[in-house]
Symmetry: C2
Subunit: 129 residues, 2 copies
DNA sequence: GTAAAGTCTATACCTAGTATAGAGTCAACA
DNA sequence: TGTTGACTCTATACTAGGTATAGACTTTAC
């Protein structure tokens, strides 16, 4: 299949597929006589794996490491588990940050009403502090 | 005061201050004979305002709009309130996304133990799906 | 034969800064 | 007066993970 079909089947844009190839995430595939990229089912599986990883917010570098690990089926998978654990820590941390931000924003929001003038705006006053 | 002092007093790096000036967030200040930027107390106030806004994750464009609004003290401040409200919606949304991600990650994490080989790794198997 | 759709590469752009090179400025000290 | 060191200047490149474009080429359909 050509890149357009792979794009539709994977849900990744054509540019993204080419970008992943350039980044070394997706192996360079065969080309047709006219230099078109030609993919097969394994390309689709690989791309879906990458997409799955990205949906977990893994970075491209992390995904590269995962792919590298996958190529050594007899080694220990502890690095994979560590990666996921570490990621959970970061996500938890980020949630806490955002919760705090949300609190600040809600305090801000309650400092003003819609019918004031700029010079009396409670939000702007809080921002000045 | 020169940029180094403003940097220390504001907690923004020197490059960031110059960056804000280039972006039009911070007004271009006076220069000394040797072309050094010379700031005063009002520059520090302005920079602190920007920093406060950034800590709320407002974008540079949004801050520009706020600054613009601030310059019209007799207009309605409803756009300011809307900005904060809209931001809260986005933050809330992002938190929900991250909570879901965290759940997925924890399901992943529990799919494997540290003592397996890569080819038996529960995490990698989930990622293949 | 030709028009439309698809693909190719290369390049620029996005956010919010950070890092660097190479040059100039300024103050203190010998 | 010379020089050293700290500070500042501009311009440019880089970060992550793509997205968007231009201009050329290929393929397909009629």
């Amino acid at each position: 299949m050509k890149i357009g079909e792979l794009s539709k089947k994977s849900g990744c844009s054509i540019q993204t597929i080419r970008f992943y190839e350039k980044q070394g995430l997706l192996e360079a595939c065969n080309r047709s006589e006219g230099n078109y990229r030609i993919y097969d089912a394994s390309s689709l599986r690989a791309l879906r794996f990458i997409k799955q990883c990205r949906s977990l917010d893994l970075t491209i570098l992390e995904i590269k490491q995962l792919l590298n690990t996958k190529n050594n089926p007899d080694k220990s998978c502890s690095s994979v588990n560590n990666l996921i654990q570490q990621h959970m820590v970061e996500v938890t941390h980020r949630i806490a940050e955002l919760e705090e931000l949300k609190l600040t924003l809600s305090e801000m929001a309650s400092a003003c009403t819609d019918n004031r003038k700029v010079k009396e705006c409670g939000v702007l006053q809080l921002l000045e502090e």
